[in-house]
Each structure stands twice: as C-alpha cells, then as structure tokens.
Amino acid sequence: MTTTQQSGTSLGGGRGDLEPMALEKIARQVRWLIVSTVAASKAGHIGGPLSATDMLVALYFHELDIDPAQPRDPERDRFILSKGHCAIGLYSTLALRGYFPVAELATFDHGDSRLQGHPDMKLTPGVDVSTGSLGQGLSAGLGIAIGAKKQDKDFHTWVMLGDGESEEGQVWEAVLSAPRFGVDNLTAIFDVNGLQQYGWPAQERDRFDRSEPLGHVDLESVLTGFGWNVLTINGNDYDQILAAFEQVRAWHGTAGKPTAIVSRTAKGRGISFTEGHFTWHNGVATPEQLEQAHRELFGTDPEGAQR
C-alpha cells in the first residue's frame, strides 16, 4: 500500500478491532486525503475536517456498528455530520473504510459527482443525513433516536457539531428538547476547535487573533444544565476518545438521557501550517505546501502524482 492512498483499496476495520496506534496511522492517511483532494479540487474546507479527523477515524474504524457492504442496514449505527462543510473529512474516512473507491475522491465537488461539497444522503454510500446549512443535524439525530426507541431498535445515533455551528439557535432547541425523550441512544459530539471562518475579533488584540466561537461559554455546565450527560476530552487523543466511547456504550439504554462529548481539538490539526490558523478554514495548498504536509504526515515526499 502506498502512503498516498490512491490505490483504491479499503483499510477494512471493524467494531473495536483497531486500537490507538492503528487509528493514528489511518488518521494520517485521512489527513493527507483531505489536503490533497482539496488541493486537486482547487477549493474546499481544510481546518474543520482536520480537527475532526481523529474522531471520525475512531468512530468509523473502532466504534460504529456498520458494514460498508450494507450501507442501508436498518440496524446500523447512524452518524450525522452536522458541520456539513467538513464533508471531505467524512468522505476520506468513508473511502478508506470501504464505502466507495478512494480514487473517487478525485471527483470531490465536481459536477455529476457522488461526492458533493456538502454531504448528500441520496448520493453518497455511508452518508446517513444530508447536511450543509448549519445547526440542523442534531434535530435529525434526535428524530432518529426517538424513532429507534419507539421501534425498540438498539443502534446508537451520533451527531458531530462544530463550536461555530453552535451559534445557530436550532442547536439549542434540539439540546433543550432531547432529554425529554430519554434518548440515551443519542450522542452529540461538539468538535470544539476554537476557530471559525472569520470569528470574533478580540478588541485589544491583533486583528488576526480571534476569540473562540464558544470561548465565553462554560459548555459543560450549559449542557449539564440542559439535562445531558457530559464528557470532556481531548478530541485529538485516541486514548481519551476510546475511553469516552466506552462510557457512551455503558450509558446506552441505561442513562435515560443523551450524552454530549465536548471534544476539544485544534483546528487544522496535524499539519504545521494549518494547525491553529483560522485562515485555513478553507484553502488550497500549494505544491510546496503539499510536499511539506506529506513529509510531516509520513516522513517522505509524495510520489509525484500530486504535482
């Protein structure tokens, strides 16, 4: 297998059978697919997908009870990427997991492609809910969780939201209502990477220094106060991610209320020139930057195909 992962083979993996070291290795490949695909498409989001990569990889290669050969299995766990602009992170993960050929990522955001710039459940195998307009995914996940309870189905529904996205009012409508339905089969992952596209200029600082979308909010207290179980982790640390998953599994069907994972991450995580820089909310890497990213991720130069 080449490190650039353009071979079209899936990495396999099933529930619980990949541990942190292996997940970390897959995450490097996902990160490479994110920057190289966006570079090839000449437009797309970078920072959000990279902050979420470790959680996506942990979900799809460790936690979710899914079968890429049966993407519509009614008993499967569900995942909703509410921060839909991070689609390339989801697509890269789904491709490596075997939902469609890795080579298909080359069509990302092109006309007639199954891989639209925002997730489309009608087009892409493995996408459970269409998203894009921010703030809507948790409501859909709540509906699915309520329906699963009514049908005595045992699957778990996961929703990933961004901290910037959580400025949308509908998020808090869903947060407010979910505990009323006893949905301990629903987990909301708040990917708190601390930056958004433009953000909130901090008054006395340099104009390129941005304050966090939810920086003034005690998110854990707020979510606890709304009636949720809350776990806080470093969302770029697999030991902490997997420990949180274990707790979610213990609460599934027993806790009587939904769970929120406050997943503190770094925007643009894993590549030095994107990590922590809000200007890389979206962006296209130059050939030199791509080479650098490859060296940082794999310790080698890319094999020329990306030039």
Binding site: P74, D120, M121, K122, D128, V129, S130, T131, G132, S133, Q136, G137, L138, S139, A140, G141, L142, G143, I144, A145, I146, G147, A148, Q151, K153, G169, Q170, E173, A174, L176, S177
Partner: protein, 318 residues
C-alpha cells in the same frame, strides 16, 4: 359546516389509528390545530416538541428515515417562514415524506392575528422541489385529500383553514391531484380561486349573476402538481381571468395561473389578493372587506374590471 382544522384532527386521528407509521408532531398548539385529538386518544402516536418549530422539522425528517410518516401541526407561518431553511434542506432536498400541515394559513386566524397570518406560504412551498402543495376548499375536500397524502411518498404542504366556510363540495367528493374543478359555468369572466377563498368566490358569482354577469368559477385545490391543460381548458376563451386568493398576489395561485397562461397567448390575467402590503389584526369580516376578499368585495372588484366604474378600483389586486 365544520372547520377544516377540526376535520384535520379527526382525520389524522383515524389515519394514526390504522397506520403505525403515522406520528403527529406538535409545537405547543395542539388545541388550536386540533392535534389534541391524537394527544388524547392515541398518545403513543403524538410527540410534543414544544415551541421550537425548526427542531420539529428536523425531528420529523429523522423519523422518516426509520419509515415514519410524520404530520406536523402548527401555524402555517411557523413552518413555511420560520422553518423555511429546515424544510428546504432536510425535507425538500431529500424528498422526505413529511406532512407539513399549516393551520391558520391565510388572512383569517383570529384575534391578534397580524403577525401570524401566512400570506406567502403558497409562494414559498410552490418553489420547493419535490413538494406537493394543496389548499382544500372545505371540510369535504380536506377529508378526501388526507388519505391521499398519507399514501404519498414525498413531502406535502397542506393549507388548513381555521374557520368553517360554506361547503362547495359534498361527502361524495373524490380528490385527484392536479385536477381543477369548474364549479360554475359562465361566459363573461372567469374567476379562479383556491383554498377556502373558493367558497367566497362562489358566493361572489351569485351576487354577480343578480346583476346579469355570468362568471365561470374554477377551483384549484392542487397548486402542485397542476394539470396545466385542464386549467387552460377550464379557463377557455374567457375575455378576462381573475385569480382570487387569501394570499399575496406574488407567487401563489395568481403567479401560477399567470405563468401557465403566459405561455398560451391567452386572456389577460388579473391577480387579486394581498397586494404587496401587510394586513392587520382585526375581526374576520373586517379583514375580508378591507382586503377585498369578502363575496361582496370580490363581486364589486369584478364589476369594476368589467367596466362598471362604480365598482372598486383600489382593491388589493395587481
């Protein structure tokens, strides 16, 4: 005479009773919309979402992915305006079988009504891909539409009126999507209407007949889909077509008829409704008169357009 919302509550209760896929979702208006009938009789088929309509639309969408056929119940304006983005992305884009029941749609929604009137719903819902848009005339038509909606695989917007009107159909009515109904023949002018306004237009035609003016009355309950040929045939060679609706003159029935007739080289189309203006909070009779929708005012307006200069030139039309 029976209010459409009452029939809506009875019918959705009966649908839920015979089909586990039917769930009724409420946003704290169950007594107004009559979803309370389901809450009382079939609590397992009822979900209270509170005063949070955007979330309700998303929850409804989520339920459809597990095979449910949710009926949303709230005031139309909170669905079609407040939750427009959610309907657009989650329901229209995915062709989800969500039943958007917009109660109190139109001009007449009781006291303190100004901000709750929905006079743009037909325009916005008609522009949504995959959406079926229905505006029944009376208690019988809504009762006949609802079983059809229950079996339909895509999303539907159903306009539900608050108050009872004089029926124009009877219990034998059968709903055919897209079909237009000629309720009365005439040769001088064609009046095209939708929703409960049709009842008032039929009465207006009676007033016109007393003055020797024969009006064809065409009822359009299904704005989307629409049988275009049927509409053109019903309008025929009328010298003048006037659309009349409890809706803005932009984008609703008037827009629909004008769009279709523009391709026909046909007669002039006058759109009569709320003409780019806000209404106000007031009793029904006052609102119908002031905004030109009572039978008397519709008749006066038609008379004016046919040359009676004692008619109503300033009425809310375009």
């Amino acid at each position: 005479m029976k209010a459409q919302r009452k029939v809506w509550g009875e019918t959705v209760l009966s649908l839920a009773g015979s089909d586990d896929r039917v769930l009724v979702l409420d946003a704290d208006l169950a007594t107004s919309t009559q979803a309370v009938q389901v809450a009382n009789e079939l609590p397992g088929s009822f979900l209270e979402l509170g005063i949070a309509e955007a979330n309700m639309v998303g929850v409804a969408f989520g339920l459809t992915t597990l095979g449910y056929r949710p009926w949303l119940s709230t005031f139309g304006v909170f669905l079609t305006s407040r939750s427009l983005d959610q309907i657009r992305m989650m329901v229209s884009q995915t062709n989800a079988p969500v039943r958007l029941s917009g109660a109190y749609a139109g001009l007449l929604n009781g006291s303190s009504g100004k901000t709750h009137q929905d006079l743009e719903d037909l325009a916005t819902m008609r522009a949504m891909p995959n959406m079926t848009v229905l505006a029944p005339a009376d208690e019988y038509e809504i009762a006949a539409m609802m079983p059809w909606i229950a079996d339909h695989d895509g999303p539907v917007y159903l306009r539900v009126a608050r108050d009872a009107v004089e029926p124009v159909f009877d219990a034998d009515y059968r709903f055919v999507p897209g079909r237009v109904y000629e309720l009365r023949p005439g040769g001088d002018v064609t009046l095209v209407s939708t929703g409960v306004q049709t009842s008032r237009v039929v009465q207006a035609a009676g007033l016109l007949a007393e003055n020797g003016i024969e009006a064809t009355v065409v009822h359009v309950p299904s704005l989307k889909p629409i049988d275009e040929d049927g509409l053109v045939a019903a309008i025929g060679r009328s010298p003048l077509v006037i659309t009349v609706e409890e809706h803005s003159v932009y984008g609703g029935l008037g827009g629909l008829v004008a769009e279709i007739m523009a391709g026909q080289g046909g007669p002039r189309v006058i759109r009569h409704g709320l003409a780019d203006r806000w209404s106000e909070s007031a009793p029904n009779d006052f609102l119908l008169d002031k905004y030109g929708l009572s039978p008397r005012r519709v008749a006066d307006r038609v008379g004016y357009l046919l040359g009676d200069r004692h008619g109503v030139p300033e009425a809310a039309s375009a």
